[in-house]
């Protein structure tokens, strides 16, 4: 058979490799910063762009899209040409992809600290950057798909199946979840509201984990583990079954992020059962990774690359067992809103994602630079420090989550909450936050060793940009292939089938939420926010208040006693976006404004508390927000905001009845400011803090409007 000669270009692999390392360190350092901010709330020193609420999205997006994202692209740009025996389709597209993605990261790193956010988790980027993400994602997909089309091999390997599934699904998720109407160049409202927005968001959020943090990493695993161990993949059959089962089942599981919310029972139940059915397909990936190492366990003992892969794949197995357990209602009743979730996701990121990235880079750099790893001993040290760091991070948080959940739910014999003051439950677990920060510090120490080792290795060797290879031209189809083998020879068909498979779950869950009215029962009392409250809500979003405060009371005695009537779906019909939150570092705020409930605080309390929380609660870990009292409220975009919301179905024309929104806003602000001044607080009418107080005092009140608690109970 005649062999064709061709050349791989390693330049983009090298660029993605360095970008992975750079952003990995940045994302981890931002994470460590916010871990310390939870212990030392005044660490940000009144500097708005350093506050927890603004940096948290930077950490999550940085870890996911910058660190893991560049790692994925490195894996794709290195492995795809070799698996298909052809160079990448286009160097120009590759360059646009690389620099476009880095530009997105830089824009995120600027816009998040400045408070530009949509507030939807891992989809916080504002709309102009979203547009850029979609364009660059299409460029990436085009480059990858054309490479697949121009391949020399007849069939495509399982790693490529996972890359394809990643590309189509992330495109669908990202576009659907980010549908929004701009009010200005930097601000928009999502087209969905309340529980519907929440469902779309968690369909996205959960599957960002599935199709950005899992499927491409499985693709990475399927290339780099057999390569590094020089062993055949354990089972081709398992590859097929777990690939299709995984991508079909994953997409349904999003509702487990909304258990005990106002999501209808049937959607919650689908979220539960599809999570449980995911255990075996996830473990299919794990066993295919681990059992590929049979016959190479002696190498694992010495080789840091294989060690990292083993711990990474094992962490994947742990996280994908724990995930379904957390999706059981009885476990979720405890775990949700606590640090348990934080521990769980870090087993995934510190264990699975980072270890696979580290292992891949330790294996690649000596090959790209034609030399040996500078220090195997140092890499082994990194491995042990990273493993220990992960445990020191996660174990205290498991303990913290469990402890705090039990404290939230405990009642005295007389029937009162044992810990009516939320802060007590925070103070109790604070030592665990110290340990977590210690674990994070260890992990970063390991990562610094990694950087040194990679730097030294690269400096010692010489970068080999071009690599020659040869392969026969693509053979003609062979008769008698099984149906799946045929599909592996027709990647475009495989792409379409994958697309259909991943669409089913989302469609079944999301569409009825819009078409069937009983899924979101209406509540007559619910009115749009006043213009001042609306501006206050946008400040609440800007400051990332939702990163620590939920606005969703679950139907448990302990929550209803503490916070008031549980949250109804009809209450959120004008909430673009929903603000349920996913973590309670502070108390729930869904009914903060209801005067008859235990959490009610007067305006003056809110004012003093936002300026200096520790003055009111010495042990509080809330950061201060002094700038809210200094900055003038910007109302220049108000009319555009109200127009957009009217178009999205919020009846502002009926509500304002022809009043000028700005005049309405000024009236309400004057009243609140006058009330504060009568209590001895020096404040002007036009400060941001007035809008924020107006919003907080409105929260949850519509349902109680004209209803007593007894009437609510009887409904």
């Amino acid at each position: 058979m005649e062999l064709e000669k061709f050349t791989y270009d390693n330049k983009l692999s090298k660029m993605f490799l360095f970008a992975t390392i750079l952003w990995g360190i940045v994302a981890m350092l931002v994470g460590l910063t916010i871990a310390f901010e939870l212990i030392f709330p005044n660490m940000s020193d009144g500097i708005s762009w350093l506050s927890f609420g603004r940096l948290r999205p930077l950490h999550t997006n940085g870890a996911i899209f910058a660190f893991v994202g560049n790692g994925i692209f490195l894996a794709v740009y290195y492995s795809t040409p070799r698996l298909l025996k052809t160079p990448m389709f286009s160097k120009a597209l590759g360059c646009i992809h690389f620099w476009g993605w880095q530009l997105i990261i830089v824009l995120a790193a600027i816009s998040f600290p400045l408070g530009f956010t949509q507030s939807k988790e891992y989809a916080e980027l504002i709309w102009p950057i979203d547009v850029l993400v979609v364009i660059i994602w299409v460029v990436f997909g085009l480059n990858m798909m054309m490479t697949i089309v121009k391949r020399r091999t007849k069939h495509i390997y399982v790693a490529i199946w996972f890359y394809i599934a990643t590309w189509v699904t992330v495109a669908v998720l990202y576009i659907v979840n980010n549908l929004q109407l701009p009010t200005s160049f930097l601000h928009s409202y999502p087209v969905y509201a309340g529980i519907q927005d929440a469902l779309v968001q968690w369909w996205y959020g959960h599957n960002a984990v599935a199709f950005f943090l899992t499927t491409p990493i499985l693709g990475m695993m399927y290339y780099f583990i057999p390569k590094a161990a020089n062993r055949p993949v354990y089972s081709y059959k398992l590859s097929i079954i777990h690939f299709w089962a995984l991508i079909f089942l994953y997409i349904w599981a999003g509702p487990h992020h909304l258990l005990y919310s106002s999501l209808p029972d049937w959607v919650q139940a689908l979220g539960v059962v599809f999570s449980i059915m995911l255990i075996a397909p996830s473990w299919g990936g794990m066993i295919n990774g681990l059992l590929t190492l049979r016959g190479a366990w002696d190498k694992v003992r010495e080789d840091p690359v294989l060690k990292m892969f083993v711990v990474g794949v094992t962490a994947y197995g742990m996280a994908t067992f724990e995930g379904p357990m957390l999706a059981l209602k009885s476990v979720n009743a405890l775990s949700h809103f606590t640090d348990w979730t934080i521990a769980h996701v870090h087993i995934g990121t510190l264990g699975w994602n980072s270890m696979l990235n580290f292992g891949m880079i330790y294996w690649l750099v000596p090959r790209l630079f034609k030399t040996k790893l500078w220090s195997v001993k140092m890499a082994n040290t990194h491995f042990w420090i990273a493993t220990l760091g992960m445990l020191f991070f996660a174990v205290p948080l498991y303990f913290a989550g469990f402890t705090q959940a039990l404290m939230w739910k405990q009642f005295t014999e007389e029937g009162y909450l044992s810990y009516p003051n939320f802060l007590e439950t925070v103070t109790q677990i604070l030592p665990m936050y110290y340990l977590r920060a210690f674990g994070g510090t260890l992990y970063i120490t390991g990562a610094i060793l990694f950087v040194i080792n990679i730097w030294k290795t690269a400096s010692a060797g010489k970068f080999t940009r071009y690599e020659e290879d040869q392969a026969p031209a693509k053979p003609a189809p062979k008769a008698g292939e099984g149906w799946h083998r045929k599909l592996e020879g027709r990647p475009l068909q495989l792409t379409v089938v994958a697309l259909v498979v991943i669409l089913i779950g989302g469609l079944v869950e999301i569409i009825p939420m819009y078409l069937v009215k009983t899924n979101v029962p209406t509540i007559a009392n619910v009115q749009p926010l006043t213009p001042l409250e609306l501006e206050g809500r946008d400040i609440y979003i800007r400051e990332g208040c939702y990163t620590c405060h939920s606005q969703m009371i679950r139907p448990f005695r302990s929550e209803v006693e503490r916070y008031g009537e549980y949250t109804k779906s009809g209450e959120g019909v004008y909430d673009h976006p929903f603000l349920y939150g996913s973590k309670r570092t502070g108390p729930d705020l869904a009914r903060e404004g209801v005067k008859t409930l235990p959490n009610y605080k007067p305006d003056s309390w809110h004012y003093s508390h936002m300026i200096d929380p520790q003055k009111l609660n010495a042990e509080s870990i809330m950061p201060p927000y002094p700038w809210l009292a200094e900055r003038d409220l910007d109302v220049s975009n108000l009319e555009s905001k109200i127009d957009v919301l009217e178009r999205l179905g919020v009846p502002y024309n009926d509500y304002l009845k022809g009043q000028d929104p700005i005049a309405h806003l000024n009236d309400q602000a004057t009243k609140i400011a006058a009330g504060l001044r009568s209590g001895g607080i020096e404040v002007q009418d036009n400060k941001e803090i007035i809008a924020m107080i107006a919003y907080l005092q409105r929260l949850g009140t519509d349902l109680y409007n004209g209803n007593t608690q007894a009437q609510l109970n009887s409904k």
Binding site: K237, L238, M277, R557, D603, W605
Partner: protein
């Protein structure tokens, strides 16, 4: 397994992995990566079947039997009913309760605990007042008598921001914290006392 073998293609389509002696699929070679022809592990298949059965049963329990633990509103109602049945009623407690100033150290210590945890949020730990009035001076807005104070802490003064503690603190706890104010805080000198509010008594 034996039945599977019968269906398998002829032996010449396979090669053997030297370390495990398992069958490699012949034309599966991707950049040097080979694939073994191993079957799905039996325990793995059973795990998958069990989760599917669990799921079917789960959905039937919701859709056909409307089980209490899967219908959210029902589950909540049951929890509230059970709690109501367990909790002693107010009338029973009222028989034993007397509104008399407590001066024993245990009650005052318990009162201080409540004060520090709950009241201090507005009145500060040393009682100097911030959002709420100063509790160390002899000025009172709503009267200095025990029953007047008990009424305030029980029902609140919502227009001034004082919330009712009827549902959060038992009668005993409310009395303990008032006693703590009267016995321990009154007459002390806080760090930053708020100016007097109300009338001197």
């Amino acid at each position: 397994m034996a039945t599977d073998n019968a269906k398998k293609p002829p032996v010449e389509d396979y090669e053997y992995d030297t370390l495990t002696n398992e069958r490699l699929i012949k034309d599966h070679d991707y950049d040097g990566i080979r694939e073994l022809d191993n079957d799905l592990p039996t325990w793995w298949k059973w795990l998958f079947y069990i989760t599917i059965v669990f799921s079917v049963v789960y959905m039937i329990r919701l859709w056909v039997f409307h089980s209490d633990d899967l219908v959210q509103e029902r589950e909540f109602a049951i929890e509230m009913e059970e709690a109501a049945a367990k909790t002693p009623t107010d009338t029973k407690a009222a028989g034993e309760f007397q509104l008399v100033l407590l001066e024993d150290e245990a009650s005052l210590a318990s009162g201080k605990e409540t004060w520090d945890k709950i009241c201090a949020v507005c009145h500060l730990v040393d009682g100097g007042g911030l959002v709420g009035p100063n509790m160390t001076d002899n000025y009172w807005i709503h009267g200095d008598k025990l029953d007047q104070q008990f009424k305030i802490i029980t029902n609140g003064v919502i227009e001034k921001g004082m919330i009712p503690y009827r549902d959060q603190l038992s009668e005993q706890k409310r009395l303990e914290v008032i006693s703590y104010v009267m016995v321990k805080l009154q007459g002390t000198t806080p760090a930053n006392p708020k100016e007097p509010q109300g009338d001197p008594y």
